[in-house]
């Protein structure tokens, strides 16, 4: 049994190179850090959790003005553990924005954005914006009064941009007013466009971190 397993592992490792992965991803040298250095990983964990609970929510959620709110009530009241899945997704969303933001503050305070990590920082800005975008698009999906008016106000603010404002507002709403089209495009953005962008950028962010290694915590000499 054991010999067979080792043979299988050896065969796969020779072709895939688990051991190289292990060395490069997990066994890389780390400077002396502290708990603030864990916030990026915490952001990653929250992202994965949001993806999983989000996929589960799409099993029952229906993005149409007639059924959106009812389908949410169904998830909360009738689906087993629906309250738990939605609860995690709901609170995880706020927590993720918070954690990503504090992660950014820590890289700012420790001046980790300097050479050679400028690009890590720039990608990070994209990550923060998309994370906020996820929150904004997700907020509309229950299609209750709070969601409806928050999005009315939010898109109106985006519409106050000089010159382009009107175009931005119409592009966000899919027309001059909030409608079924708004709900549908927010849904598409929330479950496909933004998460794919976010996932891709996180991959790039992590690639850069592994390439450069983590910056050391500044001391008196810096």
């Amino acid at each position: 049994m054991r010999a067979l397993w080792q043979k299988l592992y050896g065969w796969l490792d020779e072709r895939i190179g688990f051991d190289d992965f292990y060395k490069n991803l997990l066994d890389r040298p780390e400077p002396r850090g502290n708990w603030w250095n864990t916030l990026g990983s915490a952001s990653l964990f929250l992202f994965i959790m949001q993806v999983l609970t989000g996929i589960f929510l799409t099993v029952y959620y229906n993005p149409s003005p007639d059924h959106a709110y009812e389908s949410i009530l169904y998830i909360m009241n009738d689906v087993q553990f629906g309250w738990l899945v939605r609860g995690i997704h709901h609170w995880g969303a706020s927590l993720m924005v918070l954690v990503v933001f504090i992660h950014m503050l820590r890289t700012f305070v420790t001046a980790s954005y300097k050479y050679p990590r400028e690009l890590t920082w720039l990608v990070g800005i994209g990550l923060l914006l998309i994370t906020i975008g996820m929150g904004f698009t997700g907020y509309l999906l229950p299609w209750h009064q709070m969601a409806y008016w928050a999005t009315t106000v939010g898109t109106a603010i985006a519409g106050s941009v000089p010159f382009l404002g009107d175009f931005i507002l119409q592009a966000l709403r899919g027309g001059p007013d909030l409608s079924a089209l708004t709900l549908q495009r927010f849904y598409a953005a929330h479950i496909w466009i933004l998460p794919l962008l976010l996932g891709g950028l996180i991959g790039f962010h992590l690639f850069l971190i592994i390439k450069h290694g983590e910056s050391h915590w500044p001391d008196k000499e810096d």
């Binding site: 589960f56 099993v59 229906n62 169904y74 689906v79 087993q80 553990f81 629906g82 899945v85």
Partner: protein
């Protein structure tokens, strides 16, 4: 304490890692699976009894048609389905009543009573049932189903809206 039930540190670590890992897997796995299969676990409750006719209006010896709708809630949607049947008074005795379903046992078309032929005719594949629902000819594999019924003090025929198949 002798060495007989001594556990090495390594084995202890393996055991606790396995136990905690299994616990976490269960805590995540069970709700996940329950969540996904939740609608399949719902039991299909029989609807409330419905009053479909009053015996006063039902002639003896001739099937009397009735229909009713059952509304089912599936998640966030309500679907109303119409069902129908026939009340047959076999004699003047108010207890001698049969409530047949009009759903053809072949592929679920609605059968109609035909006076001349003295049978229930299915419009779909040329089949006929006799007045008590037995197959006379055609593809249906079994007799028409029936509904359980009760007759209250005022002569209302009250049925339980679940079709019961004949043996």
């Amino acid at each position: 304490m002798s060495g007989s039930n001594h556990i090495s540190r390594r084995d202890f670590m393996k055991l606790t890692t396995g136990a905690i890992g299994g616990f976490i897997a269960a805590v995540i796995g069970i709700p996940s699976i329950a969540y996904l299969i939740s609608p399949a676990l719902r039991e299909d409750k029989a609807g409330k009894p419905v009053s479909v006719a009053n015996l006063e209006n039902v002639p003896v010896g001739k099937p009397y048609p009735f229909s009713f709708t059952v509304t089912r809630v599936n998640g966030w949607e309500r679907t109303s389905t119409a069902y129908g049947g026939f009340i047959l008074r076999r004699s003047a005795d108010p207890a001698d009543v049969l409530v047949l379903s009009s759903r053809c046992t072949h592929l679920s078309c609605r059968v109609n009573w035909n006076d001349e032929a003295a049978g229930f005719v299915c419009p779909c594949h040329d089949a006929m049932f006799d007045i008590e629902g037995k197959v006379l000819y055609g593809p249906p594999p079994e007799p028409l189903g029936h509904f359980e019924h009760e007759i209250d003090g005022e002569g209302n025929v009250i049925i339980t809206p679940v079709e019961i198949k004949e043996g």
